[in-house]
Symmetry: C2
Subunit: 252 residues, 2 copies
């Protein structure tokens, strides 16, 4: 990818590195090599590492290093059919693991990052969540007043102290994430996500080529939705490219 | 509840029955008693029965009986902390099982009902999903073009034949559900949900008293959102009471 960017800068202005997260020490070495030597402007990680959550201490250097570089982490969903939807079953049926499991796990990963206090420890942290913040925008009521009551639904441990450890309401941390527009051409979802994150934290993406036409459909429909939205032209420019330029530090 | 309705019909126009779903035969007997003898106008069930999905053959009489009565099933989320979010853990942290797990499981239950063909077998089936259709409205792109490609993500079994068994696109079945407005005062979520289901399939609900003020907040905020929406007065009347009157057969 570094070579592609070097050979075709007019088409590929930057690339995101992939890290061997299951071997954390090697991952940080590769991260430094990718950014310092090869010019990576982001890393893409998945919502779990061999089934483990991202808020384990062994993964904390990722957040510290990326905040230090002032470069974004792209958070991509991951889950397979072997994660069942009911405790009485051993696999997820009908690809539910994809349709709902991916946004579920993205949302869970976001929550774990928030409640682990990573945004408090690394205020410059920038995390781009694929698919427009997963479940957060539509469920802002659960994330907001719902989680303001964290602990009231739990009796076997005291979760109210989690809120005391954070500097802000949980909802305010969720607004610190970035989202991309890859919602498969849904205008109501795009509006809902934009309402939650605002035009400064939403970046264009399409999920091509994973549509029924094998490529053009999601690009075309996402462009159509964005062009039809009642949005100032300045906001549209941010979504289409200015936010990406800024987040990836392309002018630096 | 039957007695409350009998004593105070001006405040309680109808009630929903609760069924012992873990003992199916007894549940159908109780269902008939509740409707025929006591006048129940709905049943409320949960998204799993002791951890089991609702599309098992043992639960099919519920759908058949309710479609026969032309009365609705209220589908309420259920999940607890013991359902972990990662395979390497044994419980869900920070009440994620509530914030995201409840809508996730509602969405899964809806998908299982759709793919089991229950709407094809019982076309009159009416199912009201709490919290405005859970994940479906925001994720209509995944449910729509995403699930039109069912089978393309799976290699160990042929899931493409599932689509062949259904009479319509998966998305069209999801539009047959009803949703309520209990989204905790989120206007963007309300708009997104209304866009998906339309004014004929959305019913007023508030989730009172589970708000930070222990009662008034979600009622007040939900009313505010609905009153502020750019909606014809006829649509507002449907959401506030006419859809409920019709669904519960209050004029019958």
């Amino acid at each position: 990818m570094a070579e592609l960017v070097r050979l075709h800068p007019e088409r590929f202005p930057a690339f995101a590195a992939s890290l061997p997260m299951s071997a954390p020490d090697a991952a940080w070495e590769e991260l430094r090599r990718a950014v310092d030597d090869l010019g990576a402007r982001a890393v893409q990680i998945f919502t779990n590492v061999s089934g483990k959550p991202l808020d384990l201490p062994e993964f904390e250097p990722l957040f510290e290093l990326m905040a230090g570089y002032d470069l974004p982490i792209f958070l991509h969903p991951a889950r397979g059919a072997r994660f069942p939807d009911y405790p009485t079953e051993d696999k997820s049926k009908y690809e539910i693991w994809w349709t709902f499991g991916w946004p579920y796990e993205t949302s869970v990963a976001m929550a774990r990052i928030v409640f682990a206090g990573l945004f408090d420890r690394y205020p410059g942290l920038k995390i781009l969540t694929h698919h427009l913040g997963a479940m957060i925008p539509f469920f802002e009521g659960r994330v907001g007043p719902g989680w303001d009551q964290l602990g009231t639904r739990t009796s076997d441990e005291d979760l109210t102290k989690v809120l005391g450890r954070l500097k802000k309401r949980p909802l305010e941390y969720f607004r610190m994430f970035y989202g991309d527009t890859a919602v498969f051409g849904s205008r109501p979802a795009t509006e809902c996500g934009l309402s939650f994150f605002g035009v400064d934290r939403v970046l264009f993406a399409s999920d091509a080529p994973f549509d029924p036409e094998r490529g053009p459909m999601y690009i075309r429909e996402t462009l159509r939705v964005l062009d039809e939205l009642d949005l100032p032209e300045a906001g549209r420019r941010k979504i289409y490219f200015e936010n990406a330029e800024k987040l990836l530090g392309l002018g630096r």
